[in-house]
């Protein structure tokens, strides 16, 4: 009744090809953006920004990048943390070594550095496929872990191995308070989400999907696997690299290589799978799920007033976390985004399903 496209006629190609062809969707997304840009900064508490919204936005961006590689192009990567690390350390070096480097430029250069490394480690994907490739991408993970720990030049010969940035600002506006950090992340995430959405709707996006569905058949109909796979690696690692810069600069402030360990890679892959492979909204849903779940699980015994030791809690969190992941995979292997679209489909027929 409320959600249907009856009477919404398309009279131009532009109208037919817009991202949200249904009026109600456009209203919903406009409302969402309004809440995110206006209501949140006015209402959110500092803890809410620091512990939930900022990590959510940054991890959603990283998941978005990974989703392009795994969900759209079908190349499983377990080395996402590595590309985040490359972005973060590259941007750090640009900031430290070049005086007066603006944050945005450093961020984009960090992304570019991640692109280069991503393409380099993407080259084996032309020959190695499936699970073999997944394990092979771990090489990137362990190599960068080692490189940023052992090679002093990357960390500007910091003795503790941890590096930090301070006095971030964009066009003279300082990015220090939680609200300004949140808004900065939000803008970056919105821009990249829009670009990613449009890329996946374009010719190159279709090529990625063809490669994912069956690479031999795609090659037969004239899609160049080399070009398609390497662009997917490039775009994906660029976005992941930018997310790495944000994670290090905006969220952590001071970090060491452990911040981008293999656990981070797994966490991002979980987001993509639980959110939904091959969907932009899936990256956000998955990130929200994976950020909120540990927070809720940590607080739960506290809310219920059950006295148990923190060690037991952390083990129980591990257990519940693992069990929930398996549960979600069984209930909806296509992810939360699929649940969402099923819900929308039902809404269109409601309240007369026949």
């Amino acid at each position: 009744m409320l959600y249907r496209e009856n009477g919404q006629f398309k009279t131009s190609y532009a109208a037919d090809q817009q991202i949200f062809p249904i009026l109600q969707d456009r209203w919903a997304i406009g409302l969402l953006l309004l809440v995110a840009f206006v209501a949140m900064p006015l209402l959110g508490s500092e803890y809410f920004f620091r512990a939930i919204l900022i990590p959510f936005l940054i991890l959603a961006l990283a998941a978005l990048g990974l989703n392009i590689l795994v969900g759209y192009c079908g190349q499983i990567s377990l080395g996402t943390g590595a590309f985040m690390a490359v972005g973060a350390y590259a941007a750090y070096n640009f900031m430290v070594r070049i005086d007066g480097m603006p944050l945005i430029v450093a961020m984009l250069l960090g992304g570019l550095a991640a692109t280069v490394i991503g393409v380099l480690f993407g080259i084996p994907s032309l020959r190695i496929k499936g699970l073999y490739l997944a394990v092979a991408t771990l090489a990137a993970q362990f190599f960068t872990d080692w490189a940023f720990l052992r090679i002093g030049w990357f960390t500007n010969h910091s003795t503790s191995g941890s590096v930090s940035v301070a006095n971030l600002n964009v066009f003279g506006i300082p990015i220090e308070s939680p609200v300004s950090k949140y808004l900065f992340c939000l803008v970056v995430v919105c821009v990249f989400a829009l670009m990613a959405k449009n890329l996946t709707r374009s010719a190159i996006g279709r090529q990625w999907m063809a490669i994912r569905d069956m690479d031999v058949a795609a090659a037969v109909i004239g899609i160049r696997p080399v070009y398609a796979k390497l662009t997917a690696f490039a775009v994906s690692s660029f976005i992941v690299g930018v997310a790495g810069v944000l994670w290090a600069f905006v969220y952590l402030g001071a970090w060491e290589p452990a911040a981008f360990s293999i656990d981070r890679s797994f966490q991002l892959l979980f987001m993509v799978i639980i959110g939904g492979l091959g969907s932009i909204s899936g990256a956000f849903l998955g990130a929200a799920f994976m950020v909120l779940l540990p927070v809720v699980l940590d607080q739960l015994p506290h809310w219920l007033g059950i006295p148990i030791s923190t060690a037991t809690v952390s083990h129980l969190v591990h257990m519940i976390f693992g069990a929930l992941i398996v549960f979600f995979l069984i209930v909806e292997p296509h992810g939360l985004a699929k649940l969402w679209s099923v819900g929308k489909q039902k809404m269109r027929l409601w309240p007369f399903p026949h």
Partner: protein, 309 residues
């Protein structure tokens, strides 16, 4: 030369231990097409069970014999692994039949998280020791050929022998028994096996139990070497390059791959490591495997991947 041989032997024996963990991966992948990331967690779980039961049983039943305690603990730990295999099949895998490889991979990662938490809740999270009477002192061989001989750790030697025995037992089990034949049939072709009356679910439980057995042996050996603690579950990450190097579907591949990785790791650490600043073991194994894969994308002994449109 003596030093080189020492490194070589050390590498070969470390490689045998990697193969033990890699075997678990290969067994499960062959039979059910699941890339089991939980193998490391299973090693930790089995080792924890073994260590704690060996500690608890003498207290509960009031006996002193170490041998008896270890024996009972081994049986109890093995029983737990069988129950675990059954539960994983019943609650998880049977519901995910026909899903894509990556979904199954993620499910086993979920299982790994669960097992890590479950094992440590059940058995505690301190460092425990397993004492099965492994010799700790080093031995010298080939003393006639080199001055001072070549030093090998007796512990590693025993471990390598046990690993070799396990491989022989598994090979016999697969080749000579009726169940083994059924397992190979399922590995060859699920549908054909099912159509001639081999119960898939039972076979999967058996395979996961066998992988649990391999995990238990690996856990005991690694555990008595390094102590039983959380880091034990990370040996899986050491075994992954072994698996892809040897080929996901090949048992001999796991052994040969393990030896190559073991030797490559030790030699690189000694001869290339100092140039790069040390600690290169972990990524060198992966890069080595990557190098082999570029030449043979299906691993050394894996089945040839044939793409059909």
């Amino acid at each position: 030369m003596g030093f080189f041989l020492e490194t070589l032997f050390g590498g070969l024996m470390a490689g045998m231990l990697y193969s033990l963990v890699a075997l678990g991966f290969v067994l499960i992948y062959k039979a059910s097409g699941v890339f089991n990331f939980a193998q490391g967690a299973m090693v930790l779980f089995a080792a924890l069970a073994m260590a704690r039961f060996a500690e608890w049983f003498p207290k509960w039943f009031g006996f002193e014999s170490l041998l008896l305690a270890n024996l009972l603990a081994f049986i109890a730990a093995m029983a737990m692994m069988v129950v675990l295999a059954w539960a994983i099949e019943r609650l998880c895998l049977s519901k995910l039949v026909n899903q894509e490889g990556i979904t199954l991979l993620m499910a086993t990662l979920g299982i790994a998280y669960f097992l890590d938490g479950f094992g440590q809740t059940l058995f505690g999270s301190d460092i425990y020791s397993i004492n099965v009477g492994m010799p700790k002192d080093p031995a010298f061989i080939l003393e006639g050929m080199f001055e001072g001989g070549v030093m090998v750790s007796k512990e590693d030697l025993v471990a390598a022998v046990i690993a070799a025995l396990l491989v022989i037992v598994l090979a016999l089990f697969f080749q000579k028994t009726k169940t083994g034949r059924a397992l190979r049939a399922v590995a060859d072709d699920h549908q054909a096996a099912q159509s001639i009356g081999i119960p898939l679910n039972t076979i999967w439980v058996i395979v996961w139990s066998v992988a649990g057995f391999a995990a238990l042996i690996a856990g005991i050996i690694w555990g008595s070497k390094l102590g039983v603690q959380f880091t034990l579950s990370l040996v899986a990450l050491k075994a992954l390059p072994v698996v892809i190097l040897g080929g996901l579907t090949s048992v001999p591949g796991a052994i040969i791959g393990g030896l190559i990785i073991g030797v490559g790791e030790k030699l690189s650490e000694i001869y290339i490591g100092p140039m790069l600043g040390g600690g290169i073991e972990i990524w060198f194994a992966y890069v080595l495997a990557l190098g082999f894969l570029l030449v043979r994308p299906q691993g050394l002994f894996g089945e040839k991947i044939i793409d059909r449109v």
